[in-house]
Point group: C2
Amino acid sequence: QTQKIIFLNQKGGVGKTTTAANLGSIIASMGHKVLLVDLDSQGNLSSAVSADSMLPGTYELMIGRGKRELVQNTSVNNLYCISGGINLAGLNVELADEEGRNFFFKNTISSLEADFDFIFVDCPPDLGILTMNALAWTKYVFIPMQCEYFAMEGLNLIMRTVANVKKSLNTEIEIIGIGFMMYSKRSNLNNEVVEDISKYFDKLVFKTKIPRNVRLSEAPSHGLPINVYDNSCSGGKAYRQLAMEVLERAK
Amino acid sequence: QTQKIIFLNQKGGVGKTTTAANLGSIIASMGHKVLLVDLDSQGNLSSAVSADSMLPGTYELMIGRGKRELVQNTSVNNLYCISGGINLAGLNVELADEEGRNFFFKNTISSLEADFDFIFVDCPPDLGILTMNALAWTKYVFIPMQCEYFAMEGLNLIMRTVANVKKSLNTEIEIIGIGFMMYSKRSNLNNEVVEDISKYFDKLVFKTKIPRNVRLSEAPSHGLPINVYDNSCSGGKAYRQLAMEVLERAK
Ligand SMILES: Nc1ncnc2c1ncn2[C@@H]1O[C@H](COP(=O)(O)OP(=O)(O)OP(=O)(O)O)[C@@H](O)[C@H]1O
Ligand SMILES: Nc1ncnc2c1ncn2[C@@H]1O[C@H](COP(=O)(O)OP(=O)(O)OP(=O)(O)O)[C@@H](O)[C@H]1O
Ligand SMILES: [Mg+2]
Ligand SMILES: [Mg+2]
């Protein structure tokens, strides 16, 4: 049974790509076969794992112009990637009028699922058509959460969106958890936000908080996930712990 | 002559909203009449200046259901705001097929322009229809730039997009500058990115770099821009200096 997880938050810059890349790589290095799908026209996930966003990728997959040959190797064993890129941005307009526009991803990725133990999808920072495609397909939603005011404002909207998707497009969908990102225990603001969110969404919050750690922002410039770039840094340790929590909940 | 500036970067979380709110407020406190327009369905700019994103705002403006009565007062004298909100997200689909879909903003805001010295527009983290509307209207583009790898990857795309807009939708458009955000002089990564970008885009780069300063991320939770919340912090000083550079270039 392939475990499907999307990394979702319409707030920008909260750590969606960083989390998809690092959890994917850590779980792959445990021996599981992991596919990363870059659904963002920025193509950041692809470059984080040295996949080539100039090659055919998620866009070609969704319009039915390719399958297995779209799966690229990455800088890590057992970790594969279907790359994102600028042509994805066009899909928001191209699919706007299509019947069943929210199911292009689900209908095209299905034949690849059996090849992988985990499929992780990195979403763009919006709730547009590409993100709806991911929501209509997935079993789990991972919400990366920066511990700041603007990011907190958007949390209710995410919850409502997932609840609406569960009623209409995808009855199986579940939130696997909320993960705090770029957390600094010395920051009052961070602690206030963590406290506020934990009060309302206690069971959903992952125990592991990912610290702000410069090594995490350096790793992408080398095209390496953190467990390859610097496994022993605070960011690497935290993502290993978080991976264990995710595996526990995804059973 | 009203000065029009949009804050644009499809990379999420780089400081678009923070910069629009703080520059707007500082320039308003110098005596200029400033209108902030929130073109993001997240509504972060609205809450940063205590405008109400539940009231009719930019969505109603663009579909022609209001004008002056959409302009709200904010927590600052001389600073006004047309609020963003969730219904803006629907416009991406609603306008997808419309003839002249990129000019709804320009055609509806024009009758308000004469009332203001400056109009600042905060864009969502994408290059979709709402952002294209801002590009088709504006005179100037301010590019907030986080000094990190993923943010740097997207810079060429912004440049290409503005160049294409200049050829087709808006011959007047110009980049007023690239402003470095959340900069920490102790970070090698930040310094490398600043060096790389300054090498290629030297004249565009603003001299003032906005430091990472927790007061800047605290201020929005109080609905106050930095010059009201904490005028003497490092973030407040830097935004005052940046405002002077912007005024100099916008002459
Ligand atoms: N824990 C961390 N410590 C330090 N830097 C981090 C951390 N997590 C992410 N970053 C950096 O912060 C920036 C934002 O992270 P990232 O790009 O993963 O967010 P995102 O949610 O995917 O953004 P977008 O909304 O643009 O897709 C990146 O430059 C990344 O390298
Ligand atoms: N110089 C700074 N120092 C510290 N925190 C900052 C600074 N600038 C912005 N922030 C914080 O970083 C986060 C991202 O900033 P902001 O929301 O303004 O970016 P944005 O580009 O508008 O994001 P989006 O792409 O989601 O619209 C916010 O929580 C903000 O409070
Ligand atoms: Mg991302
Ligand atoms: Mg913003």
